[in-house]
């Protein structure tokens, strides 16, 4: 009898503790953080803002996104991320949980006035973070402002930005990628830049929303060296081998009409002109083109026209990309990863270069070549007039 009672007690204890009941937080005791923002404060500290969903508002129908808020933004100042987050926790009725975060927003001001690298340690050290989320730069306004925005379609601004990048084929901009690029010696990080702009939803309403307005090229110390606009960044992302989709519209030679293409299977190749002489580099971009729009007088069912169009597209892309490439080189920050490519291919040569690669990157003569193949002219041969 005593034996069985003893066993029962032991097993109960084991069952309770092994299932983690001692330390369990019910889902209705959790506050799910979807976006985190980091801003600069004048006294040298930082302000951390957490965008937290309100679950009771989420379960309702779509009308909830119109009137009532489905999220709350809590913020606090601190010397580090943890101090600020703890201050937020103190104000919360629920345990703040960051494992499901999908976006980190850093304001431009923060990177200008602080060393952005100090954010990495917490991201990597604290197991409460997942590095699957994306990191974006907020231009002009503070990250807190951004988190407070509503979005006409999605419930939260960070969800909308996450989806925006995802759907436009920009999947390689996770926080993990950001940290990897900034730790690596031969490549510098590119950060998506969001800008807050007024958006007219309908006749009555105009709301500010955040839109992707380009990419920021950062240097080793995470200082913004320049911001590429949407077209340029699309080119740079492709040249950096991180893109999966590109759209291009070019006017035809005689100025009458345009040609628009969807480009898929984006690739890039880097090689030197003469073997081990790495002063002159050729960067080739490759893709498959699908003609989507044609307002020129060309009959695209003719093979000669197809060949001519393909040749012309290549020339135009080459021209346009070369300009962008020169611009990036002037900024002295290798966001394209030419250094990393050469590091892997010519490791001995790299040893002499790595210490001041940003400077050397500017001196390398990079020629952009384009190798686009016209895959299809779409479902219409000639034009419907």
């Amino acid at each position: 009898m005593t034996r069985s009672v003893l066993l029962t007690i032991v097993f109960l204890l084991l069952v309770l503790s092994s299932s983690g009941c001692t330390d369990f937080v019910e889902p209705n005791q959790l506050a799910f953080v979807i976006g985190t923002g980091v801003d600069h404060v004048e006294d040298g500290t930082m302000e951390v803002s957490q965008q937290i969903v309100i679950p009771s508002q989420l379960s309702g129908q779509a009308e909830s996104s119109g009137n009532s808020n489905s999220f709350v933004v809590m913020s606090a100042k601190g010397r580090g991320i943890f101090e600020a987050s703890q201050k937020i926790q103190k104000k919360m009725s629920r345990r703040v949980m960051t494992s499901h975060r999908i976006l980190n927003a850093i304001s431009e001001e923060f990177l200008i006035k602080n060393d952005g690298r100090k954010l990495f340690d917490k991201l990597n050290r604290d197991p409460a973070n997942n590095l699957r989320d994306i990191t974006v730069l907020i231009k002009g306004r503070s990250a807190k402002d951004y988190l407070m925005l509503k979005h006409p379609i999605e419930r939260l601004s960070s969800i909308s930005s996450g989806k925006e990048l995802q759907i436009n084929g920009l999947r390689r901009f996770s926080t993990r990628q950001f940290i990897l690029d900034s730790l690596s010696e031969g490549i510098r990080p590119l950060l998506p830049v969001l800008e807050i702009k007024d958006f007219k939803e309908n006749d009555k309403k105009t709301d500010p929303i955040a839109v992707l307005s380009g990419f920021a090229a950062l240097n080793k110390k995470l200082k913004v060296k320049g911001i590429l606009d949407v077209d340029e960044s699309s080119a740079v992302i492709w040249m950096a081998g991180k893109g999966s989709f590109h759209a291009i519209t070019i006017p035809w030679k005689n100025g009458k009409g345009i040609l628009a293409f969807r480009l898929t299977h984006l690739q890039r190749r880097i090689r030197s002109v003469h073997g081990n002489d790495l002063k002159r580099i050729i960067l080739t971009v490759k893709a498959q083109a699908y003609l989507i729009e044609n307002t020129t007088s060309l009959d695209m069912s003719e093979v000669d026209n197809m060949i001519e169009v393909q040749k012309y597209v290549n020339e135009e892309i080459q021209k346009e990309f070369q300009i962008t490439m020169n611009k990036v080189q002037q900024w002295e920050t290798d966001v394209i990863g030419i250094g990393e490519h050469l590091h892997r291919k010519y490791p001995y040569w790299w040893k002499a270069q790595k210490d001041d690669w940003d400077d050397n990157f500017k001196k390398v003569q990079v020629t952009v070549k384009s190798n686009i193949r016209l895959k299809s002219v779409g479902t219409s041969g000639g034009q419907i007039k």
Partner: protein
């Protein structure tokens, strides 16, 4: 108490894999960055050879455990001293693995549960399994846990193909150079597997002729996993980040995102690692207490198992208050002398003596 070949395979496999997933990858990556996988390959080769040598020794003395045959080979006094060194190693393994497991639980999941509660639960379970059924119970458990454990751990390596970039391990060799690669190897191989447990376990094998094949396969499978895991880690995180990860295999599970839907699967892997740690600890505790009973001549090894558990518990608790004792991973005495001695030098000496003896015996009979 007999262990079939199938059970032996899982016993060896799980207890090796749990250490591979815990320590060597990080130690190798810290020193040799993107060439960490070369360190693990070299280390695996060293350990496979060590396992083979140990198996030769065991086969030559198949009707005795280490404690008894070492007396025949080296004499009673020297034999007893050397065996005590092995006991020390197993005890260190016990405290290392249990402490690592418990502190990891505290770090990632149970922030407020006192360490001692988790520790007592774990130790009680291990001691209870050893007390109730000895190696028979442990090997049954291993047989059941093994397939899940190994398959799921292998599957884990292929769950983030979208994040992998094979080029991250380039350039091979040039950046670190052979000094760093060898240094990484010599630090990490000590924690790759613990072949010395075979010296005790082999005695319990049902079929001694084929058991060595099971043991070699068990070791090889875990080595293969170790090499793949290192490569995958480097593909996903690149050398600079990998060098700073304390629990790289756990970090890998956190990156998994299948179709943006299956995420945060680490909570699923943590219990699995606990299962693995349970097998490893139970094996170690069993051979330690059984060995101690033979060593002292005190027959009741189950009592010794309980006493050892108490000692073990108090040691882990004490060492958690003393940071210097609890972080001895890179202690140069251990790495430079202790581990190579018990894993490589001692088995070689035993093999030599035992071979000479048997030849002598064969001659005298002939």
């Amino acid at each position: 108490m007999k262990v079939s070949n199938y059970q032996m395979f899982w016993l060896i496999n799980i207890s090796s894999m749990i250490i591979v997933s815990y320590l060597p990858i990080r130690l190798a990556a810290e020193i040799s960055h993107q060439d960490a996988w070369i360190c693990i390959v070299l280390g695996s080769m060293i350990m496979m050879i060590a396992t083979w040598v140990i198996l030769r020794v065991c086969k030559q003395n198949k009707d005795k455990t280490l404690v008894n045959f070492i007396k025949d080979l080296l004499g009673t006094v020297l034999g007893k001293i050397i065996v005590a060194v092995y006991f020390l190693n197993w005890f260190m393994q016990l405290s290392l693995i249990s402490k690592g497991t418990v502190e990891f639980q505290n770090l990632v999941m149970l922030h407020n549960t006192p360490m001692i509660v988790i520790l007592i639960c774990l130790l009680f379970l291990v001691a209870y399994a050893v007390y109730k059924g000895g190696i028979t119970a442990i090997s049954r458990c291993a047989e059941v846990i093994g397939p899940f454990f190994v398959v799921i751990l292998f599957v884990q390596l292929f769950l983030n193909p979208q994040d992998m970039d094979i080029k991250r391990i380039l350039p091979i060799y040039t950046d670190s150079g052979w000094i760093h690669i060898l240094k990484g190897t010599f630090i990490s191989f000590n924690y790759l597997v613990d072949p010395s447990i075979i010296l005790m376990l082999f005695f319990f094998a049902e079929n001694k002729r084929t058991a060595s094949r099971a043991i070699l396969w068990g070791t090889a499978t875990s080595m293969l996993w170790g090499i793949l895991a290192t490569l995958v880690l480097l593909f996903v995180t690149g050398p600079q980040m990998a060098a700073n990860l304390v629990v790289p295999v756990y970090t890998l599970t956190k990156f998994v995102s299948i179709l943006n839907f299956v995420q945060n699967i680490d909570a699923f892997y943590i219990p699995l690692w606990l299962f693995g740690a349970f097998i490893k600890l139970a094996v170690c505790l069993f051979i330690l207490s059984y060995g101690l009973s033979e060593w002292t001549g005190f027959k009741n090894w189950k009592l010794i198992a309980w006493l050892t558990t108490c000692l073990w518990l108090s040691y882990v608790l004490y060492s958690s208050y003393n940071i210097r004792i609890s972080f001895t991973l890179k202690n140069s005495l251990l790495i430079g002398f202790f581990y190579p001695f018990i894993y490589i030098v001692m088995p070689l000496i035993l093999w030599m003596i035992s071979s000479i003896r048997q030849r002598g015996k064969a001659k005298s009979i002939g």
